[in-house]
């Protein structure tokens, strides 16, 4: 199946989604006029605030992997800001929501600061602590401003464009606003932005190596996650027109977390179910004592143990099981496209390679001299290989080139630009793409999306263009996907294009990484043991690809154990031993070097790098 037909299939049903969205929104908004009881209306309203908060948590936790539990604090900020505004400045619902969202954004960024430097539970607990501080802070503020411990009393009835809203009309407005936010949320996460966010979850290396700043992605996630919490707060402030400290407790954080876990961390529509269920349990529990906490606790334990994707993950896996049953059709399709692969063989775009110059680079880790005075030059259009025994400094050299480590002394230049000791994202955007020893592939992306993520940083598309799906977004997106698909075809793995990339076999994941690096249209491409774990058929495909990339003009630098492969591929070989360059030259020269023969070629020549690293891989991660 090609991207073009996939696109057509999507557009054939594409009109259904907005229509369904409009119909559901109108139906729910009109419910009170159709006879919804005021008690039920209140439940739906509270569920809507939970929907908003869960979507915020999903943006930070589900999509970006940052467990920022400070949602109640952002909610409180939105509520108090909107309440204060309508009491003292101007009573307009939309302005109140705007102001509330802004206040929440500020709090979200403040609670996020520790998360910018620390990951994991640090952020979780710091943000938990912020929630515990809400009553303290509100009571520190003089009581005539925020009402202190007695609460904020006297918020006027909400007005919209000067018209005072009845309870029913206010409900309808709240439904529409929530629906609008959900559309924004959906279009944000199902896009290149969502694809960038998920790379955050693969450790510190992946996002910068694709030219994206983790710092900015995290800030974006915190800010974007805070906005709906602020909107929810502003809506809540106008519901009871009273704000008490007891509405903003840690229990709310647990409740929102539970809803997110039930719905799935990356859920979109299932958020509605999660929020409704949680609101139902919460209401029942206030009627019958404290059993709601028991239920939430059980849901958290079960959901956390199963941490797969909640309701939304369940539905997706059911859908993909159904798709697999239809597989014969697809494979016939892919056979046809395999036949056409030859046509694509010529279609690799020219790459503007530049020489990579490593000059006198030394690197020290504490007392350990990892690299000493390493100098070599990798030319565009040629394949340069770094070989050497384990611990000789090959990967360290790559990490220095792409900016993960600063040099101790020496300089790395790309053309006439100095790239050493620059931030990795900067180096990547300057045209250095790489693969990793253990493939780093974000979960939840299909193979073609993973490959396309290689070129996200090279075309900036604004948030507004993305959310509104403006023509520029569509154009960039389809170009990206077509290009990614073409690269997959060249590597002969286009049949995996729509499969989740992180569940592919190791060899295919390596090829996917290579494709992703090529998709970035790099000047220099760095490959860290890209052949290990590949079978002979795949190695042949890889070799063809590398030659094509070099022929297209890029500078290819290869770290490899497999000497046979290096000998057949490389134009220039740099031999490292104990952090120093032992010798360098053409394969023939290097092969004749007595020390190369003696030190490791002799003892290892019967063992190919492939078999060695496969064994290592087998021990550490049964793939």
């Amino acid at each position: 199946m090609s991207i073009a037909t996939a696109g057509r299939r999507r557009s054939r049903w594409g009109w259904m989604l907005p229509v369904a969205w409009i119909v559901v929104t109108i139906l729910v908004a009109a419910a009170p006029f159709l006879g919804l009881s005021s008690q039920l209306m209140r439940h739906v309203f509270l569920a809507l605030t939970i929907v908003l908060m869960v979507s915020g948590l999903n943006l930070t936790f589900g999509w970006s992997g940052e467990l920022n539990l400070g949602i109640p604090a952002m909610y409180a900020a939105g509520a108090y800001a909107a309440g204060y505004m309508s009491m003292h400045w101007v009573n307009d619902l939309l302005l109140g929501i705007l102001f509330g969202a802004l206040a929440a954004l500020v709090i979200g960024l403040i609670t996020g600061i520790p998360g910018l430097r620390l990951g994991g539970w640090m952020l979780a607990i710091v943000s938990f602590f912020v929630v515990l501080l809400i009553p303290n802070i509100i009571q520190i503020v003089p009581a005539d401003i925020l009402g202190g411990s007695t609460g904020l009393i006297g918020i006027p009835k909400p007005k919209l464009f000067g018209i005072t809203l009845s309870t029913d009309a206010y409900f309808a407005v709240a439904v529409v606003i929530t629906a609008l936010w959900l559309a924004i949320y959906r279009n944000t996460v199902i896009s290149r932005i969502g694809e960038s966010l998920v790379t955050l979850q693969q450790g510190q290396a992946l996002a910068p190596s694709l030219g994206m700043s983790r710092y900015r992605l995290k800030l974006f996630a915190y800010a974007m996650g805070a906005v709906p919490a602020g909107i929810a707060g502003a809506l809540y402030a106008n519901l009871d027109r009273f704000l008490g400290l007891e509405s903003f407790t840690i229990n709310l954080a647990v409740l929102v977390l539970a809803a997110s876990i039930i719905a799935g961390g990356r859920s979109i529509y299932a958020v509605l179910f999660g929020a409704a269920l949680v609101q139902f349990i919460n209401f029942e529990s206030t009627q019958y004592g404290e059993f709601g906490e028991l239920v939430f606790g059980i849901l958290l334990v079960l959901g956390g143990v199963a941490l797969g994707g909640g309701i939304s993950g369940l539905i997706k896996s059911l859908a993909s099981a159904r798709a697999r049953r239809r597989a014969p059709v697809d494979s016939a399709d892919s056979a046809a496209s395999e036949a056409s692969a030859a046509r694509f063989d010529a279609a690799i775009e020219p790459l503007a390679g530049e020489p990579l110059v490593v000059e006198g680079v030394s690197k020290r880790f504490g007392g350990m001299q990892a690299l000493e005075d390493v100098t070599f030059r990798a030319e565009p259009g040629r394949i340069t290989a770094l070989i050497g025994p384990n611990g000789s400094g090959k990967t360290t050299t790559l990490n220095i080139v792409c900016g993960f480590y600063p040099v101790t002394t020496g300089v790395v230049r790309l053309g006439d630009k100095t790239v050493s000791s620059k931030p990795p994202a900067w180096v990547a955007r300057a045209g250095v793409a790489r693969t990793f020893q253990t493939p780093l592939i974000a979960d939840g992306l299909s193979t073609v999306e993973t490959v396309a993520s290689g070129s996200i940083a090279s075309h900036h598309v604004s948030l507004i263009e993305t959310v509104l799906r403006l023509p520029r977004y569509r154009r960039v997106r389809s170009q990206e996907l077509v290009k990614a698909y073409g690269i997959l075809q060249r590597l002969g793995i286009e049949r995996f294009a729509d499969e989740p990339a992180d569940s592919l076999p190791l060899g295919t994941r390596r090829m996917t990484e290579l494709a992703r690096a090529v998709a970035a249209s790099p000047k220099v491409i760095l490959l860290d043991e890209v052949a290990s774990g590949l079978d002979t058929h795949e190695v042949a495909g890889l070799a063809r690809m590398l030659k094509a990339v070099a022929a297209a003009g890029a500078t290819v630098v290869l770290v490899e154990h497999n000497f046979a492969l290096v000998r057949s591929l490389a134009d220039h070989i740099v031999v490292l031993a104990d952090g120093q360059v032992l010798t360098q030259g053409s394969p023939a020269e290097v092969e004749r070097h007595p020390e190369v023969l003696g030190r490791f070629l002799g003892e290892m020549s019967d063992l190919s790098g492939t078999s060695i690293t496969t064994r290592e891989d087998g021990a550490s991660s049964p793939a």
Partner: protein, 285 residues
């Protein structure tokens, strides 16, 4: 002034005890048991009920010890064992376990705070300040277990195995250490210690289901400030944070104590992410 020091140290000792409990499971299994503070509270409630029924205090404390350990082991079996590693799922499941315990305690013993009295006491004068006798015991216990566990980790086979496990799970498994048993034992041991110390802690805080949450968060902050894995760090950070809280309460007012702790905590983290006594591991690709 001296009285403030004593009350700060007494509160700080409680935080230190919670942080030490976290450390026991963190060092051996790499998992933060957020429900530890709830198990401490459970110990307090068991004591309260047992004493209410007129049981012998020794028997009641043994019961708190055993049930605390048992609950922690059940938690390990249900909420921790089957997690996929490296997804922070344990944060969610142990918060879930904590929520279950809070809910259960609120159902059984109501949400109202209840006084726990292990023995009758009068505030006494110590170096010019007033202090409750149970506070002296609390501080002493915190110091003692911090030192004992530090020695235990460095000198005994089990302690060394757990340190090895924290450093490298696979390598430790290959050395023939049964990491599954270690996980159960460390959860059980932490839970039992928590259950036993529960009544002592509750003499200060009173028994209340929701106190656990505050203690849990404070305990975590102490843990991080002290440096994860360092029992002595937990002790020193706990006492320090107790003092900071007590003095800001006195000088600036009740609402400022927690805010001050938060500010200092964030500042410390930004300057020294590994905490006061922690070591930082660096590994990139």
């Amino acid at each position: 002034m001296v009285t403030t020091v004593w009350s700060g140290l007494a509160v700080g000792a409680i935080y230190a005890i919670i942080a030490i409990g976290y450390n026991i499971t963190l060092v051996t299994t790499g998992i933060l048991n957020f429900a530890f503070a709830n198990i401490v509270m459970l110990g307090a409630y068991i004591t309260l009920t047992g004493l209410g029924w007129g049981w012998n205090i020794g028997l009641v404390l043994v019961l708190a010890f055993v049930i605390g350990g048992l609950v922690a082991v059940i938690e390990e079996r249900v909420a921790v064992r089957f997690l996929k590693r490296g997804r922070h799922a344990e944060l969610i499941t142990t918060v879930g376990a904590a929520t279950i315990l809070t809910g259960a305690m609120a159902l059984i013993w109501t949400v109202n705070a209840q006084r726990v009295t292990l023995f009758e006491e009068q505030p006494m004068d110590l170096l010019g300040g007033l202090i409750q006798p149970h506070s002296i015991i609390l501080i002493g216990v915190a110091v003692a277990i911090a030192i004992l566990l530090t020695i235990f980790n460095r000198k005994t086979k089990y302690g060394l195995a757990s340190l090895a496990h924290a450093a490298d799970r696979e390598a430790t498994m290959m050395r023939g250490v049964n990491v599954r048993w270690m996980s159960i034992i460390s959860f059980g041991a932490a839970g039992a210690i928590g259950g036993l110390l529960g009544p002592l802690v509750a003499m200060s805080t009173s028994a209340s289901p929701y106190v656990a949450l505050t203690l849990a968060v404070k305990g975590f902050i102490v843990l991080t400030c002290g440096g994860i894995g360092s029992q002595l760090g937990a002790l020193i950070a706990g006492l320090g944070i107790g003092l900071i809280e007590a003095f800001t309460d006195v000088w600036l007012g009740q609402q400022f104590g927690d805010v001050a702790v938060f500010v200092i905590f964030v500042a410390l983290l930004l300057l020294r992410p590994q905490g006061m006594f922690g070591t930082r591991s660096r590994r990139f690709v």
